[in-house]
């Protein structure tokens, strides 16, 4: 009970921080409006999927260093497949790329299980492999994307019955994010598979002895991570209209957001909501720094300091609550 409260408390704190940041943003830039919120949602999209990908494996007690490379590979694959193809062809490309992410993720898991090499090393190796594969698919940024896919994340959703003023605050990108994550996460969280993922992250031995098929669960966790990363790759292609073979800064960002979101790096604890809120917080901080026109070199210091400070603060709270 106590523990549950503590975890929810962290997410609630993040939400409060997010709201405070929105207020600060509004103070810095009184003109900050729904359109800008839409931009934020679009910026969040690839990060959020990267973070979701990382969250699943971290909860399962692992870590996935190949997230960003996987995004790059799926992104270039999608972009090069759609290059010069018809709009309808994209209907085939999207499931294909998602399946590819799922399968490659599963390969990560299988390698970890079969070779018994620590996950951090296996995914470091697959980071190079996936990066190489991305370069083989496209040796320079390029490709194209179907217009309807681009349209999927730009603009807002007119919901009948709601006044425009509210509609404007519902960017499509946000809805796409929520739908994609919920469709996978909510059933997972309620299933025995979801429990098993938490179980192997919490204590592999105890999980094995409780009859959890540890190897299979681990493989599925990595497969899901690959699936989320593929969503992230698609999101990249959808927002930029191209595929780029060099991975973006999503790996470190995903690890940072996972930890900020209250998921313990040892595994077994936390949820998806916290990390996603953390992504919004981190992106909004970025926005504020730009709005404030802070010296760009100082922003790196500020971002690093925020990360360290928040995590230290979290550690401090846990320490205090443990002592009392």
């Amino acid at each position: 009970m106590n523990h549950l409260l503590r975890r929810q408390g962290w997410v609630a704190g993040l939400f409060a921080l997010l709201i405070a940041l929105f207020i600060i943003t509004k103070l810095i830039q009184p003109g900050y409006g729904s359109g800008d919120f839409g931009s934020l949602a679009r910026a969040v999209l690839p990060y959020a999927f990267a973070v979701a990908a990382q969250t699943v494996v971290v909860i399962a007690g692992g870590i996935d260093l190949s997230v960003a490379a996987m995004m790059a590979l799926t992104s270039v694959t999608a972009a090069s497949m759609m290059n010069g193809a018809s709009e309808e062809y994209a209907l085939f490309v999207v499931p294909f790329v998602l399946a590819m992410g799922f399968v490659l993720g599963a390969v990560n898991g299988i390698l970890i299980v079969v070779t018994r090499v620590p996950d951090i090393v296996v995914t470091l190796a697959t980071l190079f492999v996936l990066q190489g594969a991305a370069l083989l698919v496209l040796d320079a940024p390029g490709g194209a994307v179907a217009e309807w896919l681009k349209g999927l994340i730009s603009g807002t959703v007119p919901i009948p019955g709601l006044p425009d003023a509210i509609d404007a605050w519902l960017p499509k990108a946000l809805l796409v994010l929520i739908i994609c994550l919920c469709i996978i996460w909510i059933p997972l969280r309620r299933s025995k598979l979801g429990l098993s993922i938490y179980a192997i992250g919490s204590s592999e031995l105890a999980a094995f002895r409780s009859g959890v098929p540890v190897a299979r669960t681990r493989i599925i966790a990595y497969a899901l991570s690959g699936l989320f990363a593929a969503f992230g790759g698609l999101a990249l292609t959808m927002s930029t209209g191209i595929g780029a073979p060099i991975p973006g800064p999503y790996l470190l960002a995903s690890v940072a957001a996972v930890v900020l979101g209250g998921v313990a790096l040892g595994g077994g604890k936390g949820g998806l909501l916290g990390p996603i809120v953390a992504v919004f917080v981190l992106r909004l901080v970025r926005t504020d720094l730009t709005l404030l026109a802070i010296d760009p070199n100082v922003t790196a210091i500020i971002e690093g300091a925020i990360m360290v400070a928040v995590v230290m603060f979290g550690a401090f709270i846990t320490m205090r609550s443990r002592q009392s």
Binding site: M1, N2, H3, L4, K192, L195, S196, Y198, A199, G201, S202, S203, L205, A206, A207, F208, R209, S210, G211, V212, P213, G268, K269
Partner: protein
């Protein structure tokens, strides 16, 4: 004590089971045959291979050789899940609930029905369990009981209990014994591992004895069979020197003006309310308490692991404040925790584990004097007769030998006062005798020992005085000659001296559980 003479076909029949860990043969030729309706003891000295056998039978590890028949059919139990399907349910020596999941999720994970589980938990003496509690926050003893309840709730054909009672306080242990007994009566089978003969004779029908990974005998449990079992268990190593109950004349009559350790009105949170006692040089003081009466907090506070919220601790008459175990160690107080996983660096060698306190202080971080260290370590190893065949990594030692390492460390460090928290938990008879002897020897050399035990009979063998704690307070202090088991038991339950109360099957084996309902009957 009903032995089962009917020539029934065994429910579980394992023969020729072998398991090697590199050069160490954990099991060489073990066999075990369990009939329906019997409670079957599996006995053996530390490291004999009991736990290994249980793990093989339940699919937690794979055997190198051997044949396992379940209800006459050859089964290859590949995983705990497969064992579960075959009707074999273990409760291992270590708790196996997932630490970060709440109890309910743990039940869902194993597909355990919730209501029967709750009924069993109540039956096993825990009335107020919140199944939304995270396993990590639940005390060890309760976790063990939950493990058992979880196994019982699916009504297994064969229940395998590996030192189930070792970490339990007397009240919970009794409940467990009652429940296990009834399992046998209702036609199921239980394999029961314990080093406590009282439990074996109160509960079991037959016993299989292992020695060095081999089954050396199967005996019916009849009164007086203990000697035979000990003989089988120890083989050539047989120890005839039973330490007799101590008498007043043997007590080190130390009435020094200034006690070595003085505890005055010690309080820790809500768990420990008001504890005062003295510990003299050359004295072994026992601590007796039911589970969760504040003894953990008392030891933790004395060891410097937690800070008391009130009261004082005096060492050699000087008040001291501990903010870290190092402070306690500097004051000469060394703590041996009951849970060896808490005390040992499992991947490191026996030598490094024993020598660990040598390097703790900042000024000892420099080069190690290898020869000096080696001498000290070896003498401690010899003193405790640790089986160092697998000394490269402590995790390969058997549980009992691991336990010895935790004590050897402080012998080597020459600590003046040793705080032993249930040091004989899960240790075989031979080793227990050695530890009793050791504690007495230490006292003989002027050291002082504070000794918590969950086995009341040990008190008589080791202690000079017994401090009984109930509800976070010292309720009584006995001299050893007054401290017979019934008296201690009554005090531990918070009953005044001289009161007469029936406290379970161990205290009075003839009147076993007449008034309790059978949880097996609940839907």
């Amino acid at each position: 004590m009903t032995t089962n003479p009917l020539p029934q076909s065994p429910l579980l029949d394992a023969t020729g089971v072998a398991k090697n860990y590199g050069a160490v043969a954990a099991l060489r030729n073990a066999s075990l045959s369990v009939l329906p309706g019997e409670v079957h003891a599996l006995m053996g000295a530390n490291g004999a291979g009991k736990s290994t056998l249980v793990k093989i039978l339940t699919g937690a590890i794979r055997a190198d050789a051997g044949r396992i028949l379940i209800r006459g059919e050859a089964r290859d139990v590949r995983s705990p899940a497969a064992a579960r399907r075959a009707g074999l349910l273990p409760v291992y020596q270590e708790p196996s609930l997932i630490p970060d999941l709440d109890v309910l999720s743990n039940l869902r994970l194993t597909g355990t029905p919730v209501e029967p589980f709750r009924a069993w938990v109540r039956e096993l003496g825990i009335p107020d369990l919140d199944i939304r509690d995270t396993a990590r926050d639940i005390p060890l003893a309760v976790l063990r009981v939950l493990d058992l309840a979880r196994a019982l709730a699916v009504e297994p054909d064969v229940l395998l209990l590996d030192e189930m009672t070792a970490a339990l306080p007397a009240n919970l242990a009794e409940k467990v014994l009652e429940v296990v007994r009834r399992q046998g009566d209702s036609g199921r089978a239980v394999i029961f591992i314990s080093h406590r003969f009282v439990e074996i004779s109160a509960l079991c029908d037959r016993a299989t004895v292992l020695r060095d990974g081999e089954t050396v005998g199967v005996v019916d449990i009849v009164p007086g069979v203990e000697e035979k079992i000990v003989e089988l268990m120890l083989g050539a190593r047989i120890v005839k020197t039973h330490v007799a109950a101590r008498t007043a004349s043997q007590n080190a009559a130390t009435s020094a003006s200034r006690p070595r350790l003085g505890v005055r009105n010690l309080r820790v949170g809500t768990k420990l309310n008001d504890v005062s006692f003295d510990l003299a040089d050359g004295e072994v003081a026992g601590v007796v308490a039911l589970e969760g009466q504040g003894q953990d907090e008392l030891f933790a506070a004395l060891a410097g692991s937690i800070r008391p919220s009130g009261g004082t601790i005096e060492v050699d008459g000087q008040p001291v404040k501990f903010s870290h175990p190092i402070d306690a160690i500097r004051a000469g107080l060394a703590y041996v925790p009951g849970d060896r996983a808490e005390a040992l660096a499992m991947q490191r060698s026996v030598r490094e584990n024993i020598a660990l306190p040598f390097s703790a202080a900042l000024r000892n971080w420099g080069p190690i004097h290898m020869r000096q260290e080696r001498t000290k370590v070896i003498s401690a190893i010899e003193r405790l007769q640790i089986d160092t065949r697998a000394q490269g990594e402590v995790q390969r030692l058997s549980g009992g030998n691991q336990q010895k390492v935790t004590i050897a460390r402080w012998i080597a460090a020459d600590a003046r006062t040793i705080l032993c928290f249930d040091p004989t938990r899960g240790i075989d008879v031979g080793t227990k005798q050695e530890i009793y002897k050791l504690l007495r020897e230490l006292a003989g050399h002027g050291k002082s020992v504070l000794f918590y035990t969950s086995e009341l009979e040990e008190v008589q063998r080791v202690c000079d005085r017994v401090i009984v704690i109930f509800g976070g307070r010292v309720v009584d202090i006995f001299r050893v000659e007054e401290a017979d088991e019934p008296a201690l038991m009554r005090a531990a339950y918070g009953l005044p001296r001289g009161a007469k109360a029936d406290v379970g099957i161990l205290a009075d084996p003839t009147s076993s559980s007449s008034d309790s309902t059978t949880p097996g009957a609940t839907p």
